[in-house]
Amino acid sequence: MAAILIAGVGATEFGDHTGRTGRELFAEARSSALEQSAVPRSDVDALYYGNYMGETAERQSHQAPLMAAGIGETAGLEATRVENACASGGYAVADGVRAIESGAADVVLVGGLERMTNLETAATTAALARTADELYEGRPGLTFPGAYALLADAYMERFGGTHEDLAHVAVKNHENAATNPKAQFHDEIDVADVLEAPAVADPLGLLDACPISDGAAAAVLVSGEYAAEHDLEPAVAITGSGRGTDSLSLQDREDLTRTKAAESASQAAYGQADVTADDVDVAEVHDCVTIAEVLALEALGFYEPSDAITAARDGETAHDGQLPVNLSGGLKATGHPVGATGVGQLVELTKLLAGTHPNADAVPDAEVGVTHNAGGTVATAAVHVLEVAR
């Protein structure tokens, strides 16, 4: 795949934005990305915009034209909302990549937004439960963390591992978020905090799960030709983009210990980028709950199935480990504004590779990074390979 350059990135802080509307938040992220890119707004050909629950949170569907207003020549701009649950943002990125790769666009704005904290917990729980199969899983009362708890239980029954192993994932990601001003949490936690937190869905507790977050993220993607013509020299490029699909319901999967959608997506992305898992220096993965990071590391090929459960405990994925994972703080501590998350990962990884992230000192020589964004219990997955371009 010809490299697609990341000309600018921007994001709001993730967290509680009570009193602000979704459109205000997206405008902040969008303006930041466009200003950094130095691309004239009138050159933007398309907007791909991730949003999961706007109908519930702000009584607003059809948000793409809303978020496109003011970008440039709105009448000629192609604006599309992308919804694939928690992977909506990653799929917005993938759609933007495909639009440029196909020649249909030279400049694309990809972005995402979610407003969540304005809902009561029960309403948020109900909204997130809709990412699962309503008949097979919602009806018996399976919640979103409950579905991941079933995956954790299956994994630990088959391969071993403990809640304490999982707790180290949360501890690591909080430690990384402590120095990231965009993150929702800046407090460090320890293993005992995680193990003693209120239970949510056994074996997972409150501190195994990411928080409820508001936030927006955006990035300006340009073709190599456009960059050359306009003397742009972005530091980072997208060199691989992959997507994968699995059954929506867990009961229809052959193996509850693997996430086949992410395996397929990563193989496709690695193939396009002509890299292997061994080439990856840093990764931002979808750790909506602690077990999800374990499953991601195995799906991305960094570990064999059954081996990633101890990665955080052994320090291998820490900021000074052999493969730093979620240096941003991950969803766990940076926050998870659902529709924005996949783009937020792109924003964070771009800054890490460009050396402009507050935690970039952990990976001064990194050349290749990966983002992994999952929808629901990884029924959809979008994986992107990013590489230093100059």
Binding site: A122, A123, T125, A126, A129, L135, Y136, E137, G138, R139, P140, G141, L142, T143, P145, G146, A149, L150, L151, D153, A154, E157, P198, A199, V200, A201, D202, P203, S249, L250, Q251, D252, L256
Partner: protein
Amino acid sequence: MSVEIARETGYDAWLDALEAGEGYYLRCDGRTLVPPAMTGAATALEREPLPETGTVESKTIIRVPHPDFGADTPDAIAIAEFGPVTLTGQITGIDPDAVETGLEVAVTALETETSGKRFVAFRPAGEVSDR
């Protein structure tokens, strides 16, 4: 019966069958399916009787409830294999903490007190139904 449930007649008919102890699954070109099956109209679907008991493959205890279940927590939820098909259900008739992988369960359909929605429920095999 709400309008929402009435729309899902294929699923409701299957829940009726589970409740009557006449559970079934569907076979289509060698594949096995759980209703409501998404197949072409011309596809021939054969009904096969659901095995009387299934085996718990994975389980959790929901401590923060799904809104349809209000205060009915903690609930044990499990994925259980019934021969060639796998079902997800809430386990009743047993202390949630006592549910283990490998537990043999029977299946029926129950209704939530909070929302009135019907759902797949398991109970330990050999136990008398709690309905």
